[in-house]
Assembly symmetry: none
Homo-oligomer: 100 residues x 4
């Protein structure tokens, strides 16, 4: 027995897809809340959560990629005359005997 237009199979499939998606989305949301809680807990313990977030981001960023990005920033900073404010710039100044 089939419905008019024969979309009954499609409907069942769709229902299945939607339910699976919503289940996963709920889990994802739950995880996001757990993460928030951990940061709150860390904050209560006296940690700087902003620095923590940055550390997490750095750790999950590929090392090469990170160095390339930093090198580009240093290049721009030095072009802007802010050499003294970058690690690479400081290294260069030290090498050249510039007082900091």
């Amino acid at each position: 027995m089939t419905k008019i237009g024969d979309n009954s199979m499609d409907t069942s499939l769709l229902k299945n897809f939607i339910e699976r998606i919503e289940r996963l989305e709920a889990e994802k949301k739950s995880l996001a809340e757990d993460i928030k809680e951990i940061y709150a807990e860390a904050k209560d313990t006296g940690f700087d959560t902003k620095a923590m977030r940055k550390a997490v981001a750095l750790r999950q960023m590929d090392a090469n990629e990170r160095k390339e990005q930093q090198a580009m920033i240093d290049l721009y900073m030095s072009a802007l005359g802010d050499l003294r404010d970058t690690p690479l710039g400081q290294a260069a100044m030290a090498r050249d005997g510039v007082a900091t």
Copy 2:
């Protein structure tokens, strides 16, 4: 004898926090990938994933949110009421089809 400057934070506590966070983030990422796969599967089966996404979004919008939206609309309207005697308010109401 204690550490210089007393920035002797609890290293193992920090490590614990970060490890928990990274674990949860990894799970979150995994779930996001699973969701992506389901959409791809649905698309292969002939569904309109854009409409599916909208349907999921609609269903996530629960009654509380709807009430918040209504409260916001009410506030808008009361603000408009305050402006009822001003040209600006009249222009806004005219645009919005509010009877004057």
Copy 3:
């Protein structure tokens, strides 16, 4: 003779870009402060600044945005229509007061 590695970007061009950006950002910041002052002044005069902010927001919401929102609602409804034969869809429609 040219620079080593040929990362000889146009330094003065970069400086020009950055200076223009920083100038504009400074102006933007200044405007934000002016706005803050006006709200403070209005508050002192006895106005409800929260309602004022809502009124401003409402008036910023122009006809185009309203049409976009309507289009989104229409899409929602068509998505619901697709789900008309499913329990999930029926639940959603019941919740939303859509006649079945």
Copy 4:
């Protein structure tokens, strides 16, 4: 001559406040668009806009504040065993004769 309820003065004041605010908001929005255009122009010229944004942020951040933040990140990274990934960590390793 005064309106019933004597809120005519309030209304006029409110109108004045709203108009001033909206004028300033419009200017602010315009500036934001200008800034976006400059970044787009820089991108067309071959610059890395992400690095540019970072450089701008660094320049407008107080030097001491910047160093404090970086020191905190370095401290956390070293506590996590990622000493080699931070400038301060690298300096410490160099000082101690650790091969990089």
